[in-house]
Each structure stands twice: as structure tokens, then as C-alpha cells.
């Protein structure tokens, strides 16, 4: 097949809504959405603010298989409220992970895959979102004792706020070049620290520091993949069979503290200086 033919046959993942993403990643047989839109579990807080709800609250939970492995996908819908985590959507993810943990503890593991297109807490439900995210963090760490917990960030929203911490807790993190991963969204940093510190309109700077390529180069994500449904599916199929292992990104504390010692805190970080510092102290290149 020529490159052009391959390009024409390639299906974009980034352009798909959350439900289609799940359907495309799972094996065709035995796909099953849990708490789908017909259950009408909607946000109790948005109508009080004259904001239209969505009948899945922007989160899709789907069980099925990937190869021979049982998986559950939790997908955040980037098109609803910026992929934000409200009470219902947050409880869907935390609750699904709790069910997966119960199964794993009974010797019947189900590998969680998190599709993290999210700005973090939905500010219209602030403290409910924050609480749910803490519960998601707890479940990810507990599940990692039993097997992989895989995070996927593809764009267009990126992964920010409390859910970037969730990404940092995943045992493997798969990203595209379009993906961004950071604690604070660019607008929030600009608001809190000023435009000199962080210009939220400077897209090249933002992608050079927070983009998927940089995160893989510095070891803060494991795999870079193209915006291609088949490629993402193949990569996930390889990762779902991984064995539990300590996660260097959270447990190799001494190396990260050594890295911080090499940072000049008042110099403006660039993609190059950051990569060099990581390469020297953590072995990432």
C-alpha cells in the first residue's frame, strides 16, 4: 500500500466523539455500555445554573474485550462542557473502577482504559468534581496492584487539572502529538501568574512544553502514537496484557528530586533545557 492510500484509509481518533471512540477500540462482539444515555443520569447541579445537561453527563463507560483481555473503557466526551468532571460523570468513572477493583480482588481482572480529554473539575459543580477525582485517584493506585491501568490522551482538549494527576497515576500513558498534559490549563496560569509567566495564546510554546512528543521525550508518558484508530487499538492491545510493576513516575522519588536540583528556577524553561535536564538525571532522552 502506498503512503497516500494508507493516509486515505486512516481513520482519525481525535475527531470521534467519546462513544464512537469506545466502540472502535473494543472488539465488535460483546460491547456493552453501562449507564448509557437512556438511563438519564444527568447532572443535578447544571439546571440550577440554566445550563443544559447531557444524558450521559459527558462520560461513557463501556465494557468489552480487546483481544482476549477483558477491559472497561471510561471515556470523557470532549464536546460536553470542555470534558469537565461533574458529580455524575466523576461517579461513573470512580464507580466503574471500583467494580473493576472488586473483580480483580476476586481473581477476575478487568483492565481499565481511561480516555482523558478533560479540563479537570467542572467548575459549576466544583467540590463534587474535586471529591470524585480524589476517588478516581484512589482507585487507579489500588488497581495498579493487579495489572495495568492505561491512560490515553489524544486531543483536542488535552488533560488538565485533577485529571492530569489521574494521568500521572496510570501505569502506561499513551499520547498523540496533538495531546497536551499539564496540571494547570494555560488560561488559568495566565490568570493567576500573569501573561509574562505564561501566554495562553502562545500555542507553539504550549505544545513544546506540554505536548505529547515532549512528554514522551521526558519520560512523563510512555508511548507516542499517531491520530489513527487502528494504531491506537494495536498499541492498547499490546499494553493491556502487561504485568503489574512499580511505576517509576511516582515511586522514583530520589531521581525526580535530583532532577529538581539541576533546574534553574528563575530561568524560563524551554523544551530543550527541560529535555536535557531529564536526560541527565532520569535517563529519559
Amino acid at each position: 500500500m502506498t503512503d497516500v492510500a494508507a493516509l486515505l484509509q486512516r481513520q482519525s481518533f481525535v475527531e470521534l466523539p467519546a462513544r464512537s471512540r469506545c466502540q472502535h477500540l473494543l472488539d465488535d462482539a460483546d460491547q456493552r455500555e453501562l449507564l448509557g444515555p437512556f438511563e438519564r443520569l444527568t447532572s443535578p447541579w447544571l439546571p440550577k445554573q440554566n445550563i443544559v445537561t447531557q444524558s450521559d453527563d459527558g462520560v461513557v463507560i463501556m465494557r468489552g474485550t480487546l483481544g482476549d483481555t477483558k477491559v472497561v473503557i471510561a471515556a470523557v466526551e470532549p464536546a460536553f462542557q470542555g470534558g469537565s468532571m461533574g458529580e455524575v460523570g466523576g461517579a461513573k468513572i470512580a464507580g466503574a473502577l471500583a467494580c473493576a477493583l472488586a473483580d480483580a480482588e476476586n481473581g477476575d481482572p478487568v483492565v481499565p482504559i481511561l480516555l482523558l480529554e478533560t479540563g479537570g473539575v467542572r467548575l459549576q459543580e466544583a467540590n463534587c468534581g474535586l471529591a470524585a477525582i480524589a476517588e478516581i485517584h484512589d482507585m487507579i493506585v489500588a488497581l495498579r496492584e493487579h495489572g495495568p491501568v492505561i491512560g490515553v490522551i489524544t486531543g483536542p482538549v488535552g488533560c488538565f487539572g485533577g485529571m492530569s494527576i489521574a494521568a500521572g497515576l496510570c501505569s502506561e500513558l499513551i499520547v498523540t502529538r496533538e495531546a497536551r498534559l499539564g496540571l494547570n490549563g494555560p488560561q488559568v496560569i495566565e490568570q493567576e501568574a500573569g501573561v509574562d509567566e505564561f501566554d495562553s495564546r502562545d500555542r507553539p510554546m504550549i505544545w513544546s512544553l506540554l505536548g505529547g512528543e515532549q512528554r514522551v521525550a521526558t519520560g512523563l508518558a510512555e508511548a507516542l502514537v499517531g491520530d489513527d484508530v487502528a494504531a491506537i487499538r494495536d498499541l492498547l492491545a499490546r499494553h493491556v496484557t502487561a504485568s503489574p510493576k512499580p511505576l517509576a513516575r511516582t515511586t522514583d522519588i530520589a531521581r525526580f528530586e535530583a532532577l529538581l536540583e539541576t533546574v534553574a528556577p528563575t530561568e524560563r524553561a524551554t523544551a530543550r533545557t527541560t529535555r536535557d535536564a531529564f536526560a541527565q538525571t532520569t535517563g529519559a532522552a
Partner: protein, 269 residues
């Protein structure tokens, strides 16, 4: 918050530990003190302001890169030291964090990863059998709270002005939601999870106890004793449990309870 280089968190940490010396080897912004709670060994941990901190975006008590990794180390070391102990030491997180750090260097070097390591440190301690109690002595904000305190088995809060829990400061929340600050304040009065005050937070069913003690009362011996007792009661209430189930689906988080119950029903198919 009091003046200069101090905070409610620093003041309560000192009061609860009888002004014991913090352990060496941590940044000045992370105070780790091994003392007792009741008659049980306890490690107290607080993030405090340090006007001389290496990273300028984390000098007002924010949880930044150095703080995140130091918290992770304080927790990891406690778990390792008590690995074969019959009674694992209590962990007390004294919380007064205005936010996570906001900065370019912070994002470039993976602040989200530092906070993940800190959160995981508490999760691992709790799941290894350390009773973990948080005292909300001032602000418990956003990523700062997720990294320091939110993973405790039990949350205990002081009361009154200055004690706040939220996901984002009012100015930034207004910008992101395209509202005015007045608009955000109005909604905070009407929508429980959008409120900043601790009374509203209590209605969400997330607190184990709220004490009618002001954050300024750390020099009042009776108040300190009541806080100690409340923390010890929380440890007793934890018993042998290691998860967060005591606070899930309580209070006004009725949708959380409904979603979780329905998921458990349909999970197996």
C-alpha cells in the same frame, strides 16, 4: 492567614506537636514532625509558606514541584519504616494550602507528576494500614488539596472564615466559566458544591467532623486539646478500614450514591 512567613497550617502543626522540631532533609516549605496522637506514634505533615523557597511560584504555601516530591518522600519513608510494624504510625495531614503552584517551569517539569506522587504516597500509606487523618485548618484548594490531605481516611475541619474548600480561586473560576466575580459569588450562595465556605462543604457529606473552633485559635490550649481529641476519635473510627467508603455518597452527593448503586447492579450484566 497570619502575617509574613506563617500560616494557619504552620501554627496548628506547631501546636499539635508541642512545637517539636521538624525532621531535617526536607525543604523549609514541607514540615514533617514525628510525634504522638493519643498514645500512638504519628507523623504530622504540613505545607507552609517559605518566602525563600527555591521555586518563586511556590513561596506562599502552594504545593509546587519541590513540595510534591517532598510529600511523596515523607509518606513513602513512613510506610517503609513501618512495613513490619504491628501498629503503623498515624499520618496527620495539617492542611492550609491556597493552591498548587502556577508557573511555566512547574508545568515543564511535570507538576502533575509531582502531585500524583504525593497523592499516591497518601493512598499507599492508607492502603498499607496507616490511619490517615486530615485537619483542614485553613484553605484546602484544588490540586494542592488533592496532593496533600484529600486521600485521608477521615477529614476533620475547623470552622469560620478562612476555612475553605474549592477547586479554583474566584478570579480564575470567573474567567474560565465566563462569568463575573460577582456572578461566581452569587452562584456560590445558591449551589452547594460551588460554595467556598466549610459549612456548605459539610453538607456534601465529605467531612467526618467539623469543629466549632476558629483557625486563629491555635494558641488556645483548650482548643488544641479538643482538636487532638477529634483527631484521635477519627483514628478510632477508622479502625481497620483502608478505603474512602465512609464519605462516598453521603449528604447532598445523592447523585453519587445513585450512580454507584446502579453501576454495581449492571456491572456483571
Amino acid at each position: 492567614m497570619s502575617t509574613h512567613n506563617d500560616s494557619y497550617g504552620a501554627a496548628w502543626l506547631a501546636a499539635l506537636t508541642d512545637h517539636a522540631e521538624p525532621l531535617a532533609g526536607y525543604p523549609a516549605s514541607v514540615r514533617v514532625i514525628d510525634a504522638e496522637l493519643g498514645h500512638r506514634a504519628a507523623r504530622y505533615i504540613a505545607v507552609v509558606p517559605d518566602s525563600q523557597a527555591r521555586f518563586p511560584r511556590a513561596r506562599a504555601g502552594e504545593v509546587g514541584l519541590a513540595e510534591g516530591w517532598a510529600l511523596a518522600r515523607a509518606l513513602h519513608d513512613a510506610v517503609e519504616a513501618d512495613e513490619s510494624a504491628a501498629h503503623k504510625r498515624v499520618i496527620v495531614a495539617v492542611v492550609d494550602v491556597p493552591s498548587q503552584a502556577y508557573g511555566r517551569t512547574e508545568e515543564a517539569y511535570g507538576l502533575h507528576q509531582a502531585l500524583a506522587a504525593a497523592a499516591e504516597g497518601t493512598i499507599r500509606a492508607r492502603r498499607a494500614g496507616h490511619p490517615v487523618v486530615t485537619l483542614i485548618a485553613g484553605k484546602a484548594m484544588s490540586g494542592g488539596f488533592l496532593a496533600h490531605g484529600y486521600q485521608a481516611n477521615r477529614l476533620v475541619a475547623l470552622s469560620g472564615e478562612g476555612v475553605q474548600v474549592h477547586a479554583m480561586g474566584k478570579q480564575a473560576a470567573a474567567r474560565i466559566t465566563q462569568r463575573s466575580v460577582e456572578g461566581v459569588e452569587q452562584l456560590a450562595r445558591e449551589i452547594t458544591p460551588m460554595a467556598y465556605d466549610i459549612d456548605s462543604y459539610e453538607r456534601l457529606g465529605l467531612l467526618h467532623a467539623r469543629l466549632d473552633i476558629a483557625p486563629t485559635a491555635s494558641d488556645d490550649a483548650k482548643a488544641v486539646e479538643r482538636v487532638r481529641q477529634a483527631l484521635a476519635d477519627a483514628v478510632a473510627d477508622i479502625g481497620d478500614t483502608r478505603d474512602l467508603s465512609a464519605r462516598i455518597g453521603q449528604g447532598e452527593r445523592t447523585a453519587t450514591a445513585a450512580v454507584r448503586q446502579r453501576l454495581a447492579e449492571v456491572w456483571a450484566g
